[in-house]
């Protein structure tokens, strides 16, 4: 099963789009996400990784094991603080929890103002829906996507395929440039 190789060089929709939503089946999620991270690292210099699922420590270990250049990434970690007081880390900002939406929005906005990123990777919209209602999350995502567009950055938001019928994903079609179902995607662009 192709993971995510050549995703940025082969797929026209991705090359032409500023804001993408990648819909991933739950069984493929981890592998697909890793493929996306690897490809971002191979093709770009500066990436902001917003993680609502994995703490910085786990991501760092994973990057080392998979020889992904962590120096290209700045992390916004919304998980660690739910379990412990994090050690201050230069390339990571810690958010109190995945449902601290204002705090999260401020962290992303401030990061965008401080540094020019090639890409923002947001893992994941589905996690937001665990904590908050559709309406609140939709408002948050709309606000965030607007900010990303204004600064001229590009972004990938991931979500689980099981959330495809949610109000959020239906509205996302208005906000994002493309919503791509990764279940049947392959490197040659065929489905």
């Amino acid at each position: 099963m192709p993971i995510g190789s050549d995703i940025f060089t082969s797929l026209e929709e991705i090359k032409e789009s500023q804001i993408l939503v990648l819909v991933i089946p739950d069984k493929q999620y981890t592998d697909r996400l890793q493929g996306i991270v690897k490809e971002l690292s191979n093709n770009y210099q500066s990436i902001c990784y917003v993680s609502l699922n994995r703490p910085y420590r786990t991501l760092k270990k994973n990057f080392e094991e998979n020889r992904i250049d962590i120096g290209k990434f700045f992390f916004i970690d919304a998980i660690t603080k739910t379990a412990e007081i994090p050690t201050p880390t230069e390339n990571c900002e810690f958010i109190s929890s995945p449902n601290a939406l204002t705090e999260l929005s401020l962290a992303i906005s401030n990061s965008l103002e401080r540094k020019k990123f090639d890409y923002i990777l947001f893992d994941s919209l589905s996690t937001l829906l665990v904590y908050e209602s559709d309406i609140v999350v939709t408002q948050f995502v709309h606000f965030l996507m607007a900010k990303i567009r204004v600064v001229g950055c590009r972004a990938i938001f991931t979500c689980l395929k099981q959330d495809l019928d949610s109000v959020l994903l239906k509205d996302i079609n208005m906000f994002a440039d493309r919503v791509i179902d990764m279940e049947y995607w392959s490197p040659d662009g065929s489905r």
Partner: protein, 238 residues
């Protein structure tokens, strides 16, 4: 339009049309722990450190020593500016067993000399709720608040008066002093499930094009930051 006095608090000058009008008095109200005193001290400290505008901090409940210690936690070196006569902390104790009704000592009597001595441009009164305890009847309280406001305005200083509030929401019960002051800023908690978020709202600044929308406020290790382009998402579900 009157000259603006910058607060130097990130985000606040954008919300108030460029700062507070020179010589005005603005009430900053909110519930306990929201950051009123912090805001007021930051206004004064910035005046001394960034804009070369000396100031006087009138404290009613807290001791000057506590205020200096608290300021240190934000990296504000109050003592440095006290030595340079750019900042003075005046203690006006509220609980005074020796209080003499006949003497009727008011903060403004001490203030005039201090203002002249250091050439103060900014004043903070923390808090205006003092008058509620000093003057038992409503009329006396109103007259004395008015007298205090008049004296402060005559001094030409730009002032902030901290006022305590009991309602936890942005919709406050307006008191006499809110109408008498030139400006009114409300700090409040917005609660959404287990999350409590500090919020900032400018109700009025006379003669100023304010941003009246509610915005999130943080207390960081360097002081208060208001985000004028951010929506407090805790209010989204309401």
């Amino acid at each position: 339009m009157k000259k603006r006095v910058k607060t130097g608090v990130p985000g606040v000058d954008e919300m108030t049309g460029g700062g507070l009008p020179e010589g005005s008095i603005t009430i900053v109200t909110g519930t306990p722990g929201i950051g009123k005193s912090n805001f007021a001290m930051q206004f004064l400290y910035n005046g001394a450190s960034l804009y070369n505008e000396p100031g006087v901090y009138i404290t009613v409940e807290d001791s000057p020593e506590n205020i200096r210690e608290y300021a240190k936690s934000f990296g504000w070196d109050i003592e440095k500016y006290e030595k340079e006569n750019k900042l003075v902390i005046v203690s006006q104790p509220m609980i005074d067993t020796g209080y003499d009704e006949k003497k009727k000592q008011q903060p403004s009597e001490t203030l005039g000399d201090t203002i002249k001595r250091i050439g103060a441009k900014r004043i903070v009164l923390d808090s205006i709720t003092l008058f509620k305890y000093l003057f038992k009847d409503e009329m006396s309280r109103r007259v004395n608040i008015l007298s205090f406001i008049r004296q402060v305005k005559l001094s030409g200083c730009t002032s902030i008066a901290v006022a305590e509030q009991h309602e936890p929401s942005p919709d406050i019960t307006y008191l006499d002093e809110h109408f008498l002051a030139d400006g009114l800023i409300v700090l409040f908690w917005s609660r959404h499930r287990e999350k409590n978020e500090r919020c900032f709202r400018v109700v009025k600044i006379r003669g100023s094009p304010i941003n009246p929308d509610i915005r999130p406020m943080e207390i960081t290790d360097k002081g208060i930051i208001v985000s004028p382009t951010q929506v407090p998402l805790s209010l989204s579900s309401k």
